[in-house]
Symmetry: C2
Subunit: 500 residues, 2 copies
């Protein structure tokens, strides 16, 4: 191994170490920090961010990269060494290609944007938010142009979250998905069947929810000696080290779904992080592949597994013992209730089917904005029109319409499609695992969930960034990204429930 | 103000910022870190420690100090500017006077020493620990010699914890204390009276202990919007920022005292930290004065206030409502039980009186070791002899005798006396506050505790390091350090209880 390569690895690991400290400061700020402590915490975080930025833009990285690119180390693109180098190059380019003034302007615009978004949403006044949104989008276009792209400007932004993925591929898959989802949704709405959702909004004491959720997370393979579960307003999963994965949830004592499926979801993210190669922590081969692939792991445990009948064949008796609200409720009624589909206003509260339509709306709108086919001022009208068209509903206010998400105010453009990509990947991986493991239903009915965890670890987690998302999907499932498996999954579950 | 002074302040604040991050990493490691996360946490902590060391030994500090020493800024030693400079000089000297090899050797010896201590204590085998202890003490002597001292070698070590304090002063006060404590203890043991201690070891559900302890901490003035309370095995108080003070405790569901008086104790530390001048966070004027003064604040709330009759005149009814174990127990019986005095083996479990004898034994032994009047191999015998002489008991094993504390293995020599200094200062400050505030008993019976908190904030906390501990005691109480107030406090409480 060359000295340059060793230096590059050591330096990258140092960046990861600093970055893990940044993660801990952030986790603590969201979970534990006393109210008055936030001002100084901001100083601490800014300080570490400066240290990180200095490390990440160290010109020696460029020199090391120059002497390892095009050598034996990069000959096999899927090798660990090539992956380390490719990732280091990618990060160095992202850090150094943007002019310092643009980075500063983006930081300011997204900080201001988030504050303005909070206020404008509270006041239900889009016009208050508009100038901030215009600035953010204008800077995001500059960013895309500075980074560069082959096919379209949106590619440069999508690449931040889905390395190597193309807008055209994603658009094709999501467009096909939309065309199949809308008629399925119409059929469901026309079925006349509605489950008794009140089952889920009875008394569910937080203490028992925590106990039951923790038990389920442990059973599906989240390792609590390498992680923990805490309470936050906005649930998330973060890593503060290779053996320190922290997931969070929130509890509503009068709603079963939020915490339970939230815990399964975050535990899915956590199982991915815990499944990465520890030997390569901080380097490309030990890094999660993309947000879409990350989301596939959370969605799979939440939806394919956690909302499935075999899962509840195993757990329902225990749930009934834990929650008196479920005594006398038949499993079939519970199962129907947790799988109810109905168009609704808010993305984060949407069901497994309509969730994707919420995403597709945002994906279409942000492409139009980046391509300057529409301007931010057009957004409320465009938003409401698409909600009418795809979901058949009209937001009563911009606060619960176009202003419901923080993402755009924070400069997260290109992020939304990764949620639905996660759903597509999840279904595609799941059907393959089902084939290879000889039928998951039977395993789940017996409470055996670790086979699936181990399969994903070997096939997905341990591949790190040695492949692209597209390569991984092909490698694991022997076909490219497709919407058919998600549609099969939804149809085979929902058609019998709704008698369609 | 000179540019050098401004640079010095900015640099010192940067050190404080990094140091606050170090504190958070440490707090998290002790309270929240998943079991397997400790290896990487050690790397994170070592990394921040290296950054800190680089900052603290930056040669520019020496240049800035050279250009501000002896100027108007240092003319009044109690001014903020002189205090900033004195503290910066003190820290710079401590960081730069020790040869790098000695610092490294100390780090290694105390790391190894702590591991060896854990093992040797578990095996109850002092001989296993002995070589490590010899190394630590030999290096501590080297350290003292490298730092330098006027009167005796121990001064150089004591100064780490009690800046500017002299061994001779401490020895005189603690020797006088010992001479008065031993006969008082004998009188108590000869009284034939013993409270019913079983009152305190009944059922005390952890949940209610936490609720009641939190309520009491809040009431005496610990600010929960600038701090928090968590659970650890070894309780402590730490600061991760000017508005982020974190205290911890541990609960035993069959013992009332441990958590409740532990919380009062740590809240006392926390109230000190929260009372420091935020405008000077990280600088001498915003720094706690010494460990002894810090301890005086915790001991005052724990003992002078928390074990006093007026405190319980106010709280006892609420305690009875919270804990069914106390229903039917007369306040007088409870009050006697929480103030019971009895020689015992373990320092951290000792009562308010005998605690000081535990400390005096350690203080005498560590001076003898530093002065080479005895060698580490003599310790078990010397320890047991002093326990017999002062407390009339014999440790049944070295594990619960000479090896009961972590301090020496960790190189903390000169630390022990600060605990008893805290008791002396606490009593001396308390009697002064009582005079100035016109009788604290009456305030406490009404549940008014904030007057005392505000008095200590103004007189003690806000003085930072602008004075020495000796100057502070004189300034606040108009007399030098004395053991008479602690003796008065103990006698006036214990003589009536024991009828002596």
């Amino acid at each position: 191994m060359s000295a340059a390569f060793e230096n590059l690895c050591a330096h990258t690991r140092e960046v990861a170490l600093l970055s893990s400290i940044e993660s801990l400061l952030d986790w603590d700020a969201r979970c534990k920090l006393p109210q008055q402590g936030s001002a100084y915490r901001t100083e601490q975080q800014a300080y570490v961010a400066r240290l990180l930025h200095d490390k990440q833009t160290d010109p020696r990285i460029g020199e090391w990269l120059d002497s390892v690119q095009g050598t034996d180390l990069t000959a096999d693109p899927q090798s660990d060494s090539a992956t380390v180098i490719r990732e280091a190059q990618r990060n160095y380019d992202k850090q150094t290609k943007l002019p310092a003034e643009l980075v500063e302007a983006l930081t300011r615009a997204t900080n201001d944007g988030q504050h303005a978004w909070v206020e404008a949403r509270r006041a239900d006044d889009f016009s208050q938010f508009l100038p901030y949104l215009e600035t953010v989008y204008s800077l995001k276009r500059e960013q895309a142009d500075a980074i560069g792209y082959d096919e379209c400007r949106y590619d440069a932004l999508l690449d931040d979250y889905e390395p190597g993925e193309k807008t055209s591929t994603v658009r094709e898959a999501l467009e096909a998905l939309r065309q199949d989802l809308v008629p399925l949704l119409e059929a469901i709405q026309g079925s006349g069947r509605v489950p008794d959702r009140s089952i889920l909004t009875r008394d569910y004491p937080v203490e028992y929810q925590e106990k039951f959720g923790t038990k389920a997370a442990k059973k599906i393979g989240f390792e609590f000696d390498r992680g923990r579960l805490d309470v936050t307003h906005h649930p998330f999963c973060t890593e503060a080290g290779p053996d320190d994965c922290r997931i969070t949830t929130r509890y509503d004592s009068n709603f079963f779904n939020m915490a339970f499926f939230g815990i399964l979801h975050e535990a899915g993210h956590g199982i991915y992080d815990q499944g990465l190669r520890k030997s390569h922590y901080g380097l490309g081969p030990g890094h999660y592949l993309s947000l879409g692939i990350h989301e596939s792991q959370s969605r799979m445990w939440e939806n394919q597994v956690g909302r499935g009948k075999p899962f509840w064949d195993y757990w329902y008796g225990q749930a009934q013992q834990e929650f008196s609200s479920l005594s006398g409720v038949a499993l079939d009624d519970f199962y129907f209730a947790i799988n109810h589909v109905e168009p609704s206003l808010i993305r984060v509260e949407a069901d497994e089917l309509t969730y994707n339509l919420h995403i597709i709306i945002r994906f279409e709108l942000e492409q139009a904005l980046i391509n300057e086919e529409i301007v931010p001022a057009d957004l409320p009208e465009a938003w409401n029109a698409k909600y009418q068209q795809y979901l058949g509903i009209q937001p009563p206010s911009d606060a619960d319409g176009v202003m419901q998400d923080v993402h755009w105010s924070a400069g997260l453009v290109g992020y939304f499609p990764t949620y639905s990509l996660g759903n597509l990947y999840a279904a595609q991986f799941y059907q393959q695992a089902d084939k290879e493991l000889g039928g998951l239903d039977e395993l789940f009915r017996r409470g055996e969930f670790l086979e699936l965890k181990h399969w994903t670890r070997e096939k997905i987690h341990q591949r790190g960034r040695n492949v692209t998302p597209a390569e991984l999907v092909l490698e694991v499932t022997e076909e490219p990204l497709t919407h058919t498996h998600l549609m099969n999954h939804l149809k085979s579950k929902l058609e019998p429930l709704y008698g369609i």
